[in-house]
Every structure is written in C-alpha cells, then in structure tokens.
Amino acid sequence: MNFWSDPINSVYESWLLAFTGWGLDATLSQVIIYILGILILITFAMVIDILLVWVERKVVARFQGRLGPNRIGPFGLFQPIPDVIKLIIKEDTTPANADKFVYNLAPVLSLASVLFLWAVVPLAVNIFGVDLNIALLYMIATGAFGTLSIIMAGWSSNNKYALLGAYRQVASMISFEIPMVVSLLIPAIITGTLSMKTITEYQVNNFWFFLVSPLGALLFLIAAIAELGRSPFDLNEGESEIVSGYHIEYSGMKFGLFYAGEMLHAFTFGGLLAVLFFGGWHGPFSSEFPLLGVLYFVAKAMFGYWIIMWIKYTVPRIRIDHMLLFNWKFLTPLAFALLIVTALVHPLLKDQPQWIYILGMFLSNLLLGWVTIEILRGRSAKERAAVEPVAAVGHH
C-alpha cells in the first residue's frame, strides 16, 4: 500500500507487521497501535494549539494596531515556548476552602472535552479518528463535558465570582444549544446522514453547503461563538465585571490548560465550520494526496478561527438579558424558520439540475434573511418611536 495515497493504513500495516514480528499477539498489537494513534492525534492537536497562542497574540495585535510578539525567533514565532515554561514554573495555588479533587479535575476535563471532538473530525479523505454515524450529536455531547468542567471549576474554587461565571455559562449553554443543533440539522437534511465523513464527501462530490445555506453557516458561527464563550458572549469570563469568572483562582499550568482548551476549542469550531459548510478537506488534488487534504483542512479551520478572532476583538460584550433576548427572540425563531424553509425547498428542488438547486436554495436563504431584516427594521422603528416620541413626530 502506498504511503502517499493511504497514509494511515500503510503505517498501520507496517506497524502491525513489526509488532507481530516481535512476538506480540495480533489483537494486543492492534490495541497498542490504536492507543498510539490516539496519542498521535492528540499530539497533532496540541502542537497546533501551541502555534495558536502565537497566532492569537499576533492577530489581536494587528487588530489593535500593535506589533505583538516580535522578539523571540522570526516574527516572534518561538514566543509560545517561553510562555509555556513560564506557566509550568509558576506557583501552583489552591484556595484554602476549595474542593481539591474537583478543583484539580476541572482544567483536565476542560481540555479533554475539546480533544474529544477531534475523534470524529475528518482531516482528509482517509485520515480520521472514527466515522461515527452520529458525529453531529457526538459534537453536542462533548459540549456538555465542557460546560460541566466550567461549572466544576466555578463551584470548587469557593469564590463567588467563579460561581457567577458558572451560572452565566449554564444560562448561555441552555439557550444557544438550540440554534446550534438546528443549524447542524441543515447539512443533515441535505445529505441524509449525521456522519461528518459522509457530509464532507457529499460536498466534495457536489457543492459546498455554504452555497446552499449561507444563513445556516452564519447561525452555526454565532452559536459556536456563544458556545465558546468568546466576545461578544464572554459573559462567563467578563473580566471587567467578575474578574475572569470561572478560572479566577487558577494559576500556572492549570490556568494554562483552560487557556489551551479555549484556544483549541475556537480552532476546532473553525474546523467544524469548514467540515459542515466549506467542504472540509476538499481542494485541488486532495483526494489523491490525503496529506494535502490535511493542509487544506487546517487552512480552512484557521480561516474560521480568524473570523472568530475578528469578531472577538471587534465587538464589545453584550449584557446578559440582551444575550438571552437575542437568542430566544431572534436566533432560535430564525433557526427554526430556516429549518422549515430548507426542509421544504430541498425535496422540491433536489431532482432538478444542480445549478437550479443551488440557486433555489441560495435564493430561499436570501429571502428569509431579507424578511428577517425587514421585520427587525419595523420593530426597531416602533421601539425607537416609543422611546423618542419627539424624534418620531419630526420624522413624520
């Protein structure tokens, strides 16, 4: 088997041959190779994560008109290494009345909940952890672990700011999970499957779902930012109100795990946006050379991550009541309307030629977006008239 056309299987077979050659049992060596595979995947994600620290600092510097890290290595590229050393040698503090076991478990679970996601993400045509037939639901399930870790951190720190952060996280989790799940259903309706591998393959063979459901991609992005707890939805951290919330008491590498988890989570959601709406690993020659597909995937994920950073460093934090209203009165109804429109238009057009299908779906999204904006315009005009009667009279 050729390494360049099927890297995972060729490595797997050569290792299996080597292990059984050393006298190991075939089943045992299979298990060992699987564990090694998991370690390699996690290492890949964590190495990207170290790089992300530099990317994030450099990009935020550009957004704020600064230079960012530029002393160590070319363009400050080696800056994360002293950062990590600093985190490791920092004093490890624990509050006096903290619940020690839960307090120490929370950062580990926080990072683990992100690493779980990488099990189902297809990195290339034949490079993926596992092809689950319920990958989209699995994604939601790992989010439950992330929330749990934040609550554990918030509660066990024995600090009221930390607990407030955890309360806010639960409020946003319950709310934004709904538009997130509904926007995930749109690729599921079009392909008829919940498997990320099949969804990507469908996009490779037909068209990127961004073309047929731009509104769905936007809804997913907004819900993902809320799930990440990044600005404008960073109420669970809110450094100006509750002094960075749930991880207020953490120092050293425990804080580092939260930080790394948050960074990798944002990158992973960029990757999921790519998988669901931008064709995943699809690109020129990606089917023939899977390693090239990995490169395309990472590039698309970086683009998604960049959009998330762009929004984070541009808009201010919104108030909690505004956040809940935004979700329940705007995002959720819009997501359900989009789901109904997609479920009606898709079966109507799916037997037509492809360009008619894409155009029809795109126009239906556009129409829905336009109607939404018109409704919002009408409501906001009414609200303004109620608040500023003088201005409204002058306008008429």
């Binding site: 839960v102 037939n133 319920i134 639901l137 399930a141 439950a144 749990l148 609550i151 309360y167 989790m173």
Partner: protein, 169 residues
C-alpha cells in the same frame, strides 16, 4: 479475554462503585458528580453494544442535564450542601433483608440463564441503526402515534411553563 470484555468489566466496576458513592456521599455536589460517572458508564455500555445513538443521547441528556441540576443544587441550598443527619434509621434490617431476597432471586435467575456468558454479536456490515430508528419513529406501522403523543405532551408542558412564568399584568 477480548479487549471489549476488559472494557466492559472496568466500566461495570466503575459504575457499581460510583453508584454506591452516589448514595453514600454526604456532600450533595459530590453525589451529583458520582451520578455523572455512573451515567457515563451506562453510555459506555451502550457504545459497547454499538448503540451509538443511545450512548450519545445518554451523554447529552444526562450529563448536560445533571450539570444544570448541579447548579440548582448549589443555588437552592447555598451553605448547607453537607448532609449531617445520621444515614441509618430504624428500618435498616428490613431494607437489608428485602435487598438480600431480591439479590438472591435475581442471582439465581441469572445463573440459570444461558445468555449470561455469551458475547454480543457484531452488527451486520453497513447496518445504520440511526436511520432505522428514525424510520421507525415516523412510519405509521411502527411508533408514529406514541412519538406524536409524546411531542404533544412536551409541547403542552412547554406552553404550561410559559403560562406559569408569564408576568400577568
């Protein structure tokens, strides 16, 4: 011994010991955390049986929901999260006797049952359990009526909660 059997045994021991911890832990939040471990073990067992959909739903519903229960436990009880009462009451010999009878009965049935030592058959290649479940839920000769009745019930509960919470002016 196969790897799946080892996983099963580890999961079973983990589930049983954490279930004991749920009822014996004096701290409310610790009990909730042990409950999460137990229910996660159930999800692992479902995954071992290749019932992936049920396994993931187990995690979404129980771990996601228990996280919320956790928060409510903290919010509603504030300081007194620790149960200081004596866990033994006068009825413990009766409870022990009843439990022993049930355990012996179940154990004797299990020993007679020939399925106890069987390993599960692998699912047929290409069998999509999620698609079959979805089709069964909406096909008229399967479960469409119970499914719709449950949906209506949930909708009624939703409307009821909105009515209760509504600010009547």
């Amino acid at each position: 011994m196969e790897p799946t059997q080892i996983i099963f045994l580890v999961t079973a021991i983990m589930m049983l010991s954490s279930a004991v911890m749920v009822v014996s832990s004096r701290h409310l939040v610790h009990a909730a955390l042990w409950l999460i471990v137990t229910l996660f073990g159930a999800a692992v067992l479902f995954a071992l049986l290749e019932a992936t959909f049920i396994a993931v739903i187990q995690v979404v519903v129980y771990i996601g929901a228990i996280a919320i229960m956790f928060i409510f436990a903290v919010m509603l009880t504030r300081r007194e999260l620790r149960d200081s009462a004596d866990p033994w009451n006068k009825g413990w010999p009766v409870a022990l006797a009843l439990t022993a009878v049930v355990a012996v009965t179940l154990g004797s049935f299990l020993l007679k049952w020939d399925g106890l030592l069987k390993t599960s058959q692998p699912m047929a290649e290409g069998y999509d359990s999620v698609a079959s479940l979805g089709t069964a839920l909406i096909s008229p000769d399967a479960f469409v009526l119970p499914f719709e009745v449950a949906s209506v019930l949930l909708l009624a509960a939703l409307l009821g909660s909105v009515y209760v919470a509504m600010n009547k002016k």
